[in-house]
Symmetry: C2
Subunit: 198 residues, 2 copies
């Protein structure tokens, strides 16, 4: 598409991508939305590379959030690879957003893989009892069950939860953004959430 | 003993006891140290009454401490009976001292009763192997073992640990003081302690 220098500037502000990436995205795209999609895809690819690079994540920090009335509190450990990133503003902001999300929405698990097999089995049994399942053709059955499972159980999985401050993204996206920005794998290792009297 | 008004004032400042309690303690005691002991005993008795009154402890709050370098953090729930005490300066100060102690000394258990049976058995077996145990008469054996167990395992038990700021008292004493002061049972219900990378 045709674009002006002001467009590059606007795109950089909106996406946080580099000047060159924005210019290339605008040149390749046929619309503004497509340019943003190109940048998103690029960021996801970069983040994925970082995640699978499997670099040791032994740095990072322990962070807490306690609600002002002391009714709920969260403690978490967020890991990255270097002390440099651990001290960065983006990393600390991410830790604080995660703590706030956990305090507000009370997830039970960090990743979908953390849901115990027994809980998955129980949810699967309930899905099979749904009247609508009888109408699903046999060859589609496993796929439908799997999607329903992720939908039902996902509410309890932090990474799959819509972010409380912007439900157009899930929590995993928040982490991916900082991974792309810092060039380091970032992992939420563990969390505790205490609610008064519960 | 003979005492002056200034002594009562000094004793109040030192112990936090009431004017009448200090006056009576000085009158009954034959020395300054004995007066303090009388007040201590009185406070312990009062605290014990509160503890065994078994009033519901459903109020309180969730508190956290994170070390400035984010290497270690603690989350805890401290309970009391009324919202009034939960909001008091003494209660909040106690919560903060407990969090600091847990961060610094890393206890594994809150009370001695929380030590798992398997751990006690293992410690007992080790004690029985000590050469000195052979010289303990049979009728004293259980008492000696019990004392050694409490000494060895007590290091991992928060309530039995010497307070990091004054090792002449144990952590349980800190709580007893606030129980006596507020007239409410106070219970540390749970804690989490995260250390970066551990």
């Amino acid at each position: 598409m045709n674009y002006a220098a002001a467009d590059v500037k606007k795109l950089r502000e909106e996406t946080g991508a580099t000047f060159n990436d924005c210019k290339n995205a605008l040149a390749d795209a046929s619309s503004w939305d497509e340019a943003i999609k190109i940048l998103d895809a690029k960021r996801d690819k970069k983040a994925e590379k970082m995640i699978f690079a499997d670099r040791e994540t032994k740095q990072g920090g322990v962070f807490s959030y306690v609600h002002h009335n002391h009714n709920v509190g969260v403690l978490l450990e967020l890991n990255c690879s270097t002390d440099f990133v651990a001290r960065s503003e983006s990393f600390r902001k991410l830790a604080s957003e995660l703590a706030l999300q956990i305090a507000g929405v009370a997830p039970k698990y960090i990743n979908y893989e953390d849901v115990p097999a027994g809980v998955v089995e129980e949810a699967r049994a309930k899905i099979l009892e749904e009247p609508s399942m009888a109408r699903v053709p046999a060859e589609k059955r496993e796929e439908v069950i799997s999607n329903k499972l992720k939908k039902n159980l996902g509410e309890q999985v932090l990474m799959m939860q819509p972010w409380i401050k912007d439900d157009s993204v899930v929590v995993a996206d928040l982490i991916r953004r900082v991974i792309a920005e810092t060039g380091e794998n970032i992992v939420l290792r563990r969390f505790s959430r205490f609610e008064l009297g519960k």
